[in-house]
Amino acid sequence: MARITAGVGSSHVPLLGVAHDQQKDRDAYFAPIFEGFDWTREWEKTEKPDVVILVYNDHASAFDMKIIPTFAIGCGERYKPADEGWGPRPVPDVHGHPDLAWHIAQSLILDEFDMTIINEMEVDHGLTVPLTMMFGDVAEWPVKVVPLAVNVVTYPPPSGNRCWALGEAIARAVASFPEDLNVQVWGTGGMSHQLQGPRAGLINKEWDNDFLDGLVGDTDRLRKVPHIEYLRETGSEGIEMVMWLIMRGALGKRTKAIHRHYHVPCSNTAIGHIVLRPDNGESFDTRDSTAASDAPLTA
């Protein structure tokens, strides 16, 4: 049986791809950003996931204004890096997992999510920068990837609650896939940033860190955050954080954080990163159980 073993949240700032590709990632400006991912790179080497379900948004690369799918899933074999205006990034092609992707797509549609199926597309920095941050300089990506693209550009994007529910449905879909696969779900984009207008450059560290707190444990308060709050508090592009809720929803009722990193600035943005495990509740149940709470009295 396929199983979701971890969730990763990460910004996907395009400048990080440039810094890595030009070997500037340990320069003074970039080192505090990349150092926050060193732990994760080592951890991924031991975790060896088979597949990453990578939630991201396309930045006018594979999709233009002709077609705007709210939720789209890549069911193809292989995706090339997109040319975003300065030539494609010199990174390996991304290999899909069509069997798992089609299984998830069918399952989600029966679960009442109207998915758009993509068989051919190019993938932009939204997808390739997180792969670089997590795996570094590699000849081939060490995982297969199921791209899951979310519209967070043209309003309205999906609600946070809908994203969380999609994550829950992805978890059910993965659990019913018969092959034994180690699957991670990554939510990318954000954190606070505004790339437009006189208010550009907005950063809200307090709100971002409260959001990171809300991903941990058994609270589901983040699913209730309305779009307007993301926009007011974290800037117009902070809305990308709804994509992290798909990852969080896929991890089940409780999570525990095993790594966390936050830094300002990264280009125009705050960089945020967190690694989560699904928590089967043992630690909570032990603490809350009658036997455990009686223990000090009988000792």
Binding site: A60, A82, G197, P198, A200, R232, P265
Partner: protein, 136 residues
């Protein structure tokens, strides 16, 4: 349910954020050809044609005169008002060899250096720029 059921109430809130143009359906409709023009610069051959004669290249697209002027002037605030979206407009400033920081700073009323210094110092505080009506 986390969003207002009433689409008018949902959209009205976006107009209350200072210095911000949310990419609503109305803006998406107004800027359709503008954004598709920008998107065309994803292809190297189109970038070459554009660089050779910007005005002639623009004439191949169904942009309004106002939109064409704003593109030629690289007036990004005006382009946002005319339906442009930053991820599409990024194709224009990338073709110009500009970074996001360089292009974005032109919309803020300060120099690139001042904008960069603000980001290095932690960015723009949300204090005072959350709401027009509440002035906070």
């Amino acid at each position: 349910m986390t969003e207002p059921r009433d689409i008018h109430a949902y959209l009205a809130e976006f107009e209350d954020i200072p210095g911000t143009r949310v990419f609503t359906a109305a803006r998406a409709r107004q800027g359709y050809h503008l954004n598709q023009f920008a998107m065309s610069l994803m292809k190297p051959e189109n970038r070459e044609k554009w660089k050779a004669d910007e005005a002639a290249y623009l004439d191949e697209w169904q942009l309004t005169d106002e939109q064409k002027q704003a593109v030629l002037a690289r007036d990004y605030n005006q382009l946002l008002d005319l339906g442009g979206n930053i991820y599409f407009l990024a194709k224009v400033f990338s073709t110009d060899g500009q970074s996001f920081v360089q292009a974005v700073s032109t919309m803020t009323g300060v120099s690139v250096e001042e904008y960069q210094a603000m980001m290095n110092a932690g960015g723009r505080s949300p204090q005072g720029v959350r709401s027009k009506k509440d002035s906070n």
